[in-house]
């Protein structure tokens, strides 16, 4: 019995020493620390609309839609699990995970992102080649490299038409040195 009373006193002491620890959230905000993975934010100036993020997203919430010469990159963040796969694969470092975590809303539109890109259409068949931005990027890289300048003439051809052209123009085939 005596032991039990001492035990109870010790339990009371644990509580008294701790005091009040609960934060008055949301009136007293508690910012996440470190490199927190919150709501993904897209830098529309850097993004080229390549769609690598859409391939990587395990929740399949990023979709691409090519309509009427425009590509729409669409994020449905209601399903986001903040895994940061999109950020990790982005070749342009256009995605970052913001510290924002208070995302509850009664309107789904608050959790959607749409980005539109102008498409380059194949000069031969009219199919979408890629976004104007990614074509420009390849163009700039080729211009800076030592490769033959002619390569840039084929940038506005889709893969299928490029292949056809290559088959019909043997001089285009690169020599493969074993």
């Amino acid at each position: 019995m005596f032991k039990h009373t001492i035990s109870e006193l010790k339990e009371a002491l644990v509580c008294l020493q701790a005091g009040r620890v609960t934060l008055a959230y949301p009136f007293q905000p508690h910012a996440p620390g470190g490199e927190f993975r919150g709501k993904p934010v897209i830098d529309v100036d850097k993004c080229i609309g390549c769609g690598a993020c859409a391939n990587a997203c395990p929740a399949r919430l990023i979709t691409l839609d090519d309509v009427n010469g425009y590509r729409t990159l669409h994020f449905e963040l209601g399903r986001c699990t903040y895994c940061a796969s999109c950020r990790d694969v982005c070749p342009q470092q256009a995605l970052r995970m913001s510290p924002q975590f208070e995302l509850s809303t009664s309107s789904l539109e608050d959790l959607q992102i749409h980005v539109q890109f102008k498409l380059v259409l194949c000069r031969s068949c009219g199919e979408a080649v890629s976004t104007q931005r990614s074509v420009n990027l390849v163009n700039d890289k080729l211009a800076a490299s030592e490769l033959h300048q002619d390569d840039r003439d084929y940038l506005d051809l889709c893969i299928a038409c490029k292949r056809k052209l290559a088959i019909h123009t043997p001089s285009l085939n690169l020599e493969v040195v074993p």
Binding site: H4, S7, K10, E11, V14, G33, R37, T81, Y82, S106
Partner: protein, 559 residues
């Protein structure tokens, strides 16, 4: 030709003995044997493994291999703990006679696994003592097996006219005392019917799997290798990192990827931090079950700094999200040691103060001592794992018996208690909490430098890998068979509660109703949970998700 020496834990004697039992060894690896046995020899072989090799059944895996071999395949996974081996015992099942002899009468722990294989693959266990449907919902059509390869992952079969839930008939002269379909105090879906004589429990019926999420199907039909860890980590809402680690390890072992030492240490560090927060969470919950809310609050207060710590070093308090096949994707911050040390020092001091206070609390001990008895024989029969097994004197711990990550370098003290009651399980967890703190310090001391991701080529198809991870609740086990479409051909997950929950009938035998919640709670069970309401219209079979306002309207109109 140079003879290659197979490095393996399996002694030649063991290999000879297996051959003598008509068990064809298909593959001998470091820590794993893959053997083939015919359907006719299965029961004798299982008895031999149970009695002579002291094999512990982990689970059964059903695979639709019709595209590869023309057969279904059922594998029984055994752990030979003293030999540090996993034994995969595979039986081919002819699609013309889709059945296999049941082994539940030999090993009670096979009960659920065999029913699950039947529900999802369609292989009937002949002679099963309780062949009711287990995993699939009651209105799921007969003869439609979702884990077969010809079943699309997003197929939505029409609901079959609702059949009455098959419940066990209570023994004569007993009353039925229902608990559920939401477990009191855990707020998770499970339904337990207790059969009682007055206050005393004489039997029970268990129904679970109300929130079956089809995660394994997603893994082998839709996701890619490196996307699976993201969903694996969400299998459990408390100890998710064990699942992503276990999946990655199984896949790595299947194709022989060696992860860099630093990655192994980071995984170990996070696994132990997870154990610290999970055990503190359980201590709080257990006290909550018995109405001791003071300690519930204090345990959770002590726990909270670990959550903030992992948020700082991984980017999230719970889903660390850094596991990939081949290593981890995010290194520790440069000041990791400075961040971690004060937190675990404080937890150690505070846990010691609480422990000192409660050890002589006679009302707490009166409630927990002698309650929820699980005898070592029952523990062995139901193949329970983790603190539940160790509280009943079973000296097993995957960190020592089947070492993984950096545990090969660390000496883990396995905490075993002989009491077999809830107090014994409590003591195991408290001692493990202190042991986890010691291991975190050791990891920080030994943490090697270097890369965190291994380089590897394409993942070779149709290789099998199995791996265990000692989760706070017990041994988690994953089975991965690699595939050729950049995703597993089969991915099987066995969570510790799968085995531990099956021992509830033995645990509650002879107890009173008031003992039931804390007895079940003492297993640290992890049912599953869903957080958004998806309502399926009974007439049209349409799925729709309600918005807040619509739900409110619906509710208001009802009044």
């Amino acid at each position: 030709m140079v003879a290659t020496i197979v490095k393996t834990n399996a002694s030649l004697d063991l290999q000879e003995r297996l051959k003598a039992m008509n068990i064809r060894l298909k593959e001998v690896r470091d820590d794993m044997l893959i053997a083939k046995v015919s359907s006719a020899d299965l029961q004798d072989t299982v008895r031999y493994i149970r009695d002579m090799l002291k094999g512990r059944l982990i689970t059964s895996v059903g695979t639709d291999c019709r595209q590869l071999t023309g057969c279904y395949e059922v594998s029984q996974l055994f752990a030979l703990d003293t030999d540090r081996l996993f034994l995969v015992l595979t039986t081919d099942v002819d699609p013309a006679h889709v059945s296999i002899p049941s082994i539940t009468w030999l090993i009670p722990a096979a009960n659920w696994a065999e029913r699950e294989v039947r529900d999802l693959i369609g292989v009937e266990p002949i002679g099963h003592p309780d062949p009711r449907r287990l995993v699939l919902p009651d209105d799921w059509p007969e003869d439609l097996y979702p884990l077969r390869k010809d079943f699309r992952f997003d197929e939505r079969p029409r609901s079959q006219p609702q059949k009455k839930v098959v419940l066990k008939v209570p023994p004569p002269d007993t009353s039925v005392f229902p608990i559920g379909p939401f477990f009191p105090t855990l707020e998770e879906p499970v339904f337990i019917n207790l059969f009682v004589h007055g206050e005393d429990i004489v039997g029970m019926d268990y129904r679970g799997f109300f929130a079956h999420r089809g995660i394994e199907k997603l893994g082998d039909a839709e996701l890619t290798y490196q996307q699976v860890p993201a969903i694996a980590e969400r299998i459990c809402g408390i100890c998710g990192f064990v699942h992503s680690s276990c999946y990655c390890q199984a896949a790595e072992k299947a194709v022989g990827i060696e992860i860099p030492p630093r990655a192994a240490y980071i995984r170990t560090l996070l696994l132990e931090l997870e154990r610290i927060h999970s055990h503190l969470l359980w201590i709080g919950l257990a006290c909550h079950f018995i109405g001791f809310d003071t300690l519930f609050m204090q345990a959770w207060r002590i726990r909270e700094p670990v959550m903030w710590l992992t948020e700082n070093i991984t980017g999230n308090r719970k889903t660390y999200g850094i596991n990939h096949i081949g290593g981890v994707t995010r290194d520790l911050p440069v000041d990791a040691r400075e961040q971690i040390t004060p937190v675990i020092d404080k937890i150690e001091a505070e846990a010691a103060a609480v422990l000192d206070a409660i050890l002589d609390d006679s009302s707490l001990r009166a409630r927990l001592e002698g309650t929820g008895i699980l005898t070592p024989e029952d523990a062995r029969a139901y193949c329970v794992v983790g603190p539940t097994a160790r509280g009943s004197g079973l000296d097993i711990d995957a960190r020592r018996d089947h070492p993984f990550a950096a545990y090969t370098d660390l000496d883990v003290n396995v905490c075993v208690e002989q009491g077999c009651d809830i107090w014994a399980r409590t003591m195991v967890r408290i001692r493990e909490l202190l042991e986890a703190i010691r291991l975190v310090r050791l990891v920080l001391k030994k943490l090697p430098k270097g890369p965190i991701m291994a380089e590897f080529d394409e993942i070779e198809p149709y290789r099998i890998g199995v791996s265990s991870v000692e989760a706070p609740r017990g041994e988690v086990h994953h089975y991965v068979m690699t595939g050729n479409e950049q995703r597993p051909y089969r991915w099987r997950v066995r969570a510790p509660s799968y085995n531990n929950l099956q021992c509830i009938p033995a645990l509650l035998r002879g107890m009173t109703i008031a003992d039931a919640p804390i007895s079940v709670g003492s297993l640290d069970p992890c049912f599953s949970c869903t957080e958004r309401i998806a309502v399926i219209d009974k007439d049209s079979g349409e799925l729709r998700i309600y918005k807040q306002q619509e739900l409110l309207n619906r509710f208001n109109n009802r009044k």
